[in-house]
């Protein structure tokens, strides 16, 4: 009896390792340019730095994407759309934050429209430094993410599910209401 449980556990572990290997080597990122750091993404994607050699490619819909890039500052209006997009993505999902604006507000620390700390609202796996991060830094950040996925360290999505109430409370405190009905005041 014990023998079969052990066997099953081994099989599960084996599959887990295989799936992590494939996840780490084929990352689809959601094409959502939320801020100015996105201007260096085309450079990272095209011929000079060629993101595709890491197995990364752009994906148009959140449901099929693995990683959401927060490219820079987030105004409240974008934060709301980011939360929509993040919650639509299927697990496992990862979040990469660019620049100091996601860390502590950066140069917009005193702005009435830009949030200061993104980790209050969404769980972040990797921060990339620089204003804006150069393509080398972007590539390095993605390399880190791949390593973290392989080592089972990119667990932001689990954290989000476990602490959903806390995140939701913060989101509502900033946004007022999460779903907005009448964007155009018609």
């Amino acid at each position: 009896m014990d023998n079969t449980v052990e066997k099953q556990e081994n099989i599960r572990k084996g599959w887990d390792g295989i799936s992590r290997f494939f996840r780490a080597n084929s990352i689809w990122m959601l094409m959502y340019c939320t801020g100015c750091c996105a201007i260096e993404l085309p450079q990272a994607m095209t011929s000079r730095y060629d993101m595709e050699r890491l197995g990364m490619g752009p994906m148009a819909t959140p449901r099929q994407a693995d990683v959401l890039l927060i490219t820079g500052y987030l105004s409240l209006k974008t934060l709301r759309r980011i939360i929509y997009a993040y919650e639509q993505m299927s697990t496992p999902k990862y979040l990469v934050a660019f620049g100091p604006c996601t860390l502590n507000g950066g140069i917009y620390y005193d702005s009435h429209a830009v949030i200061n700390r993104l980790d209050q609202y969404l769980p972040i796996d990797v921060y990339i430094a620089g204003c804006m991060p150069k393509p080398e830094a972007v590539m390095n950040g993605f390399n880190d993410l791949i390593g973290m996925i392989k080592r089972k360290e990119a667990n932001g999505w689990k954290k989000y599910e476990q602490n959903k109430d806390w995140y939701r409370k913060n989101q509502i405190q900033a946004l007022g209401e999460l779903r907005i009905k009448d964007e155009f005041h018609e």
Binding site: L76, G105, H112, I115, N116, Q173, A174, L175
Partner: protein, 171 residues
Amino acid sequence: MNKDIKNLVADIKSRFELVGEDYPKDDQAALDFNSRDIHSVLAYVKSQGFRQLSILSCVDWIKDNQFQLVYIVFNWETGIRLQVRTRIDRSNPKFTTVTSIYPGAKYYERDVHEFFGVEFEGNPDSYKQLFLENWDDMPPLRKDFDSKAYSDRKYPVREYAADFSKAGDKK
């Protein structure tokens, strides 16, 4: 100051009551009018070749309890720019739309309404929010609005063990 501007200002002076004038650049004149004249001034300068409204903006002169509306118009043939300015009461900021003269003003008026709270009668859309969403305070570009205090109140700030922003001052 070039000759075209001199002639133009003299022409405008003969038709409207000029409250103040200033020439910040060689090809630019800033003219102040009473608020009741603004529409006829704009209609007149438009007929004189100032076919483009570059921007409509607002300045909050809180000490005088006034808002200043600035219409910047441009003449593409001569390269002359005019600032047509007027001051309105700050405690009850109301003005009439200029969209019948410059249709492009529609969204600039909406912008000024959102950030300063000036109401434009005759522009039905100017009351709607445009850039902000669920805004819960006074219009943010007014001088008595403190964006730092608002930001600190609403968005949590990251705490650091040491205050690195003051590090340079000690030396």
